[in-house]
């Protein structure tokens, strides 16, 4: 994992993060409510309102054609049976063609509109995630974040396609019942509308209510299973080495069983409600028969009976699917909360509004820092400066606070006291992104992406030409290695760069950092995990290539080949100058 905070000196970061009560940070410890979640999601979808609304209109038209078709067909038979000469079948054919066409158009349009809205949501989610992740994912599991980004967002398509659109349709149907059947016989109309409300509104609501808890546990169960499976895949060596195959399988089976149990529970409730909804429809038909024979209701004419009957038959068709969709409401609700709550329990450094200036002098003025009120001060009254173009090293034993210093410089955390100035400006007012563009960061945790070497390098500078890429590789002394690869720059690096050795991977990461043109390079233990020869080579390269840039080296010791202007040593929350 690429957590800057996940370094030896911050053993208990998890506690630090959780007990963040610093006024500087917006830390949301309260769980997000459903309404907040939906408000946020609707805000993201604002620019899609029109197309989503238009989709609803299309679906209503399609529904209207469907209702009309069945009524006309039944009415026609009834009329001929009653000896009334039938009207021409033109209207019937128009209704038929209209229904087929409109349904096709409506489904395409609404699905497309929904998927666009989901893309918007994914984009928003990623930006949010990035805001809270300058220091890595922390206690959030990768698998869990992934399932929020992929399956939770996908679940939300049901909100529009399976809940909203059918719901709007059922409102139309409801008024058709009131209007048409109520016109024939007010008592019958009201009864049928009432039965319909039970089937189309009340039962789905009950289903939603019952399955809400279950939906949450289904999503959680799925996330739990995913965590275990990711553990299983990354721990294959450990599992074999300790003969834990059966145990791991048992664990996965237990999680799977839990998930299945919840799925079954939910299926039971949904099936039960579906059956009740079906019975509502049958009861409505029975009422019409009763009215036709003059039982319980005022008698209606045979022709009216047929119209009402076919209307009910078609109108109640969507009741069972609606009840099933009601079962999804719980899942959708929980998915929405999980999506919006991605940064729960995370500290987010507030963004500034000014671009970082060209001058890159970094000055610490009376800086004090601690993780929270309950924690000890890591720094107090810290004063030092890093002039533009200077090459300095900050040395210290494990746990002295070196990586906290890196976090402060990168604006991953803000000082509790005092000011850090970047180019004579208070860093708090500068935008996070502009600071990070000016400071190239490289550590042992720098992530190599499962992509081509080219794409990995372009992360440093998206506009770099091939020539520039080769030059950077050359400077980082890996050009020959890349050249020897069959696909050159287009060689796939594999997950975490598994296709190259550790040293080669680090040098590719260095090439990426060099490519960024950042005037300040912050190198946090860049050579950990490399053998002594490779380490010396690395610093040799650094001496040569980064002549005009500010270099901040954070190390526990020096190798002796680094060319440095100043060496600072961290101890007891202070920096002392070791060499001028």
């Amino acid at each position: 994992m690429t957590d800057i905070l996940e370094n030896p000196e911050n053993k208990n970061v998890e506690m630090n993060i959780n007990s963040f009560k610093n006024a500087n940070y917006s830390v949301s410890n309260q769980p997000i409510s459903a309404s907040t979640a939906f408000k946020q999601i609707l805000k993201v979808w604002r620019k899609r309102y029109f197309s989503l609304f238009f989709g609803c209109i299309l679906s209503l038209i399609a529904l209207g054609f469907g209702l009309g078709l069945m009524c006309l067909a039944g009415g026609r038979i009834a009329m001929t049976a009653l000896g009334i000469f039938a009207v021409s079948s033109i209207l019937l054919k128009i209704m038929g063609v209209g229904r087929i066409l409109m349904r096709y158009v409506e489904r395409l349009y609404t699905h497309n509109a929904m998927f666009k809205a989901l893309s918007d949501l994914r984009l928003w989610f990623f930006r949010q995630l990035a805001k809270g992740s300058a220091s890595g994912l922390g206690f959030r599991h990768r698998g869990d974040v992934l399932s929020r980004l992929v399956s939770d967002i996908e679940t939300l398509d049901g909100l529009y396609l399976r809940l909203l659109i059918p719901f709007i349709g059922s409102i139309l149907t409801f008024f058709v019942f009131i209007g048409v059947v109520g016109y024939i016989n007010p008592g019958l109309g009201l009864t049928i509308a009432a039965l319909y409300s039970i089937g189309a509104f009340f039962l789905p609501l009950v289903t939603a209510f019952i399955t809400r808890e279950k939906g949450r546990s289904i999503i959680q169960g799925l996330a739990q299973l995913r965590i275990d499976i990711v553990d299983f895949l990354s721990g294959l060596r450990e599992i074999r080495a300790f003969g834990a195959e059966n145990r791991l399988q048992d664990t996965i089976e237990t999680k799977e069983h839990f998930l299945f149990q919840k799925q079954q529970d939910q299926a039971f409730s949904v099936a039960l409600m579906g059956v009740l909804a079906f019975l509502c429809g049958q009861l409505a038909m029975l009422c019409i028969f009763a009215a036709a024979f003059g039982l319980f209701f005022d008698k209606i004419t045979p022709f009216q009976t047929v119209i009402a009957l076919f209307l009910v038959l078609t109108g109640f068709e969507n009741v069972i699917p609606l009840t099933k969709a009601g079962g999804l409401a719980g899942q959708i609700l929980n998915a929405a909360i999980r999506i919006v709550g991605i940064n729960e329990k995370c500290s987010i450094v507030p963004d500034g509004h000014e671009e970082a200036p060209l001058n890159t002098d970094i000055v610490f003025k009376n800086v004090g820092f601690r993780w929270s009120d309950e924690h000890q001060w890591i720094y107090r009254n810290l004063n030092f400066s890093i002039e533009q173009g200077s090459r300095i090293a900050i040395l210290g034993a494990s746990g002295a606070g070196k990586s906290t210093l890196a976090a402060l410089i990168l604006k991953v955390v803000l000082p509790v006291e005092g000011v850090i100035e970047f180019g004579q400006k208070d860093m708090t007012n500068l935008t996070n992104e502009s600071i990070r563009k000016r400071i190239g960061w490289l550590s042992q945790d720098t992530h190599l992406f499962d992509d081509t070497i080219r794409e990995n390098l372009l992360l440093g500078n998206s506009r770099a030409t091939d020539e520039a890429l080769w030059q950077a590789l050359n400077e980082a002394a890996v050009a020959d290695v890349v050249q020897a690869m069959p696909d050159g720059l287009d060689t796939w690096l594999g997950e975490g760069g598994v296709k190259v050795s550790g040293g080669q991977g680090r040098r590719i990461a260095l090439a990426r950092t060099l490519l960024s043109q950042a005037p300040v390079l912050l190198l946090d233990e860049p050579t950990t995990g490399l053998d002594a020869d490779t380490e010396k080579e690395f610093f040799d390269i650094l001496n040569r290539v980064a002549a005009h840039r500010t270099i901040i080296l954070i190390m526990h010791r020096l190798t002796g080949v680094e060319k440095l202007d100043k060496i600072w040593r961290v101890a007891n929350g202070q920096l002392t100058l070791e060499k001028q």
Partner: protein, 565 residues
């Protein structure tokens, strides 16, 4: 290519065969449901006839009303059990599939990650399998019912009114023809979409892992835009499938509408021209009209489930991309155990290559490691140290030469016996989600509290344990959040002490540690090494504190072999 298709077919057929027996009761219930629907339509038609035709006697009204009520209740019961059984069938099939995948991956071992990223694999094992729910619970029953249920309805209709049965039957026949035309296109597109989805997911996972790198490079916006592009690409692909899939359901709509119009128009004319048929025909026409939605419902379920079928094919492709498991099963005439004491290990002209193009990772290496001796593998990263350890773990087999444990060739040893005598500590131990206690007991869950305490002592875990809020029961996350590299390594060492196996494999255990911590860890390891056969891969100079057989490797070749005693 054809071979590949045949493989997919074979795999799907295998899964279908396994799951078939779960779907039989659902199919039977579906058929019963159709028969009840016929009864309901008949009752409704009889009632309507008595309402429409004034001359018809009002006898039997009570009978048909009662019939309507009873059949409605019966049908609701059938619908209920159909749903419940469908869920159960899906669950059983998913379980079977997931477990078989876990077994395959265990057999292949960690080298599976050389072929496939863990993102793709985890999405295969979680989401792809979950998404097959529909295949087993919906598609399998629907694939039988779409023929059987309409046929049953048609049989009843033929008995009543052959002419109407013919009209509806012909309209019904349009559906499979349209399905054949549109369905194939949809299946191909759906498979492509499924692959796109999996790739997108792997990309997401990788970006999430490296999110801090992205943020700290000031590249959030660029990556966000790229993500938007891939999400958009996914949407376009999905729409391409839906355009075809909706077309096939529009075809069903079309057939149904034609049937409705024809039935109402034909019978309508008949009433006018043949007054004598009036009485019977009106019941029949209404009966037919009421049955049309029932007749087309199974066809529609099949159309809806068509995507589910494509999903199975998509999964089949992902599964078949895994390296062939069968090829790795070695059939030895006799499987042998090795003793429980420290083994002697011999490498006899061993070579290994991951693939032909990349050359040999290990090139003709021979050595003889005595019982209780230490083997130090030294060399730069990429020189083949880890490959030798992977071989000793049994994850990969030499492409040439032979490895012997106590004189027994490695392939002939029962894998469990090998596991029992070996302990392994790698560069970055995997810390499972759970407490520290759980993570250490992972090595031996049956260990007593005393044994656990002894292991903690031996691995010097106590000093940092006391700084943790809940001591041994502190939760550590995926990747060991909150633990430093040295601390994580101590957990691995405690595991090794707990397991107490006679062969110890150490794969660069200090690679990610600073020199002070490295020295501490080596000191701790010294206790562990006692009385065991040890293989230590390292590039650290600190390893000179160990004495034994030293191999210097360079690009997979042995360049020096020295024995220090």
């Amino acid at each position: 290519m054809r071979d590949h298709k045949a493989q997919i077919k074979q795999w799907t057929r295998q899964q279908t065969r396994l799951a078939r027996r779960y779907s039989i009761p659902i199919i039977i219930l579906g058929l019963i449901s159709s028969v009840i629907a016929v009864g309901l339509a008949w009752c409704a038609a009889e009632l309507l006839a008595r309402i429409l035709i004034t001359t018809k006697s009002m006898k039997m009204v009570g009978f048909y009303l009662a019939g309507f009520v009873i059949l409605s209740i019966l049908r609701s019961a059938v619908l209920f059990f159909q749903e419940i059984l469908a869920t159960k069938a899906g669950i059983k099939a998913k379980h079977q599939l997931r477990m078989s995948l876990i077994h395959s991956i265990m057999k292949i071992g960690p080298s599976v990650l050389h072929h496939q990223s863990s993102g793709i694999l985890s999405s295969l094992m979680v989401d792809q399998i979950e998404s097959l729910d529909g295949y087993f619970s919906r598609w399998m029953p629907a694939s039988v019912l779409w023929v059987a249920a309409p046929l049953i309805i048609l049989v009843f209709l033929t008995i009543v009114e052959p002419w109407l049965a013919l009209i509806i039957g012909l309209c019904g026949l349009m559906v499979p023809i349209a399905q054949a035309i549109f369905g194939i296109g949809a299946a191909v597109a759906a498979r492509k979409q499924f692959l796109a989805m999996t790739r997108l997911q792997a990309r997401f996972l990788d970006r999430i892992k490296g999110i801090a790198t992205i943020v700290l490079s000031g590249r959030t916006e660029d990556e966000a835009q790229k993500l938007l592009q891939s999400a958009d690409e996914l949407r376009r692909r999905t729409m391409r499938i839906l355009r075809v899939a909706f077309l096939s359901s529009a075809a069903i709509d079309c057939a149904m509408v034609i049937a409705i119009i024809l039935v109402s128009v034909t019978e309508g004319s008949q009433f006018v021209h043949h007054d004598s048929w009036n009485q019977i025909s009106v019941i029949h026409a209404l009966f037919a009209l009421l049955l049309i939605p029932e007749f087309f419902a199974p066809l529609r379920s099949l159309a809806l489930a068509y995507q589910d079928r494509a999903r199975l094919n998509g999964t089949a492709e992902s599964v078949l991309e895994l390296p062939d498991v069968k090829a790795k099963q070695i059939t030895a005439p006799t499987m042998l155990n090795v003793g429980t004491h420290a083994p002697e290990i011999v490498f006899d002209h061993v070579s290994f290559s991951w693939d032909e193009a990349r050359g040999k990772a290990i090139d003709d290496i021979s050595f003889d490691l005595k019982q209780g001796e230490i083997l130090i593998l030294s060399g730069k990263s990429g020189s083949g140290k880890s490959t030798i350890i992977e071989m000793l773990l049994g994850f990969i087999q030499p492409t040439a030469g032979e490895i012997r444990f106590n004189g027994v060739a490695l392939p002939k040893i029962v894998p469990d016996a090998l596991t029992k005598i070996t302990t392994w500590i790698g560069q970055k131990p995997v810390i499972f989600a759970g407490t520290i206690r759980e993570n250490i007991l992972f090595a031996k869950p049956s260990a007593s509290e005393e044994a656990l305490q002894a292991a903690l002592q031996a691995a010097s875990i106590h000093p940092f344990l006391s700084s943790l809020p809940e001591g041994l029961d502190t939760r550590i996350g995926e990747g060991g959040y909150g633990l430093s590299g040295g601390q994580a390594q101590r957990i691995a060492i405690a595991r090794a002490f707990l397991k107490n196996a006679p062969l110890l494999l150490l794969d660069e255990p200090t690679a990610h540690l600073d020199p002070e911590t490295e020295k501490d860890i080596f000191e701790t390891l010294k206790n562990l090494i006692h009385n065991r056969t040890v293989v230590l891969a390292t590039h650290s100079t600190a390893s000179q504190m160990f004495q034994g057989l030293r191999l210097d490797l360079h690009h997979g070749k042995l360049i020096a072999q020295t024995r220090v005693n």
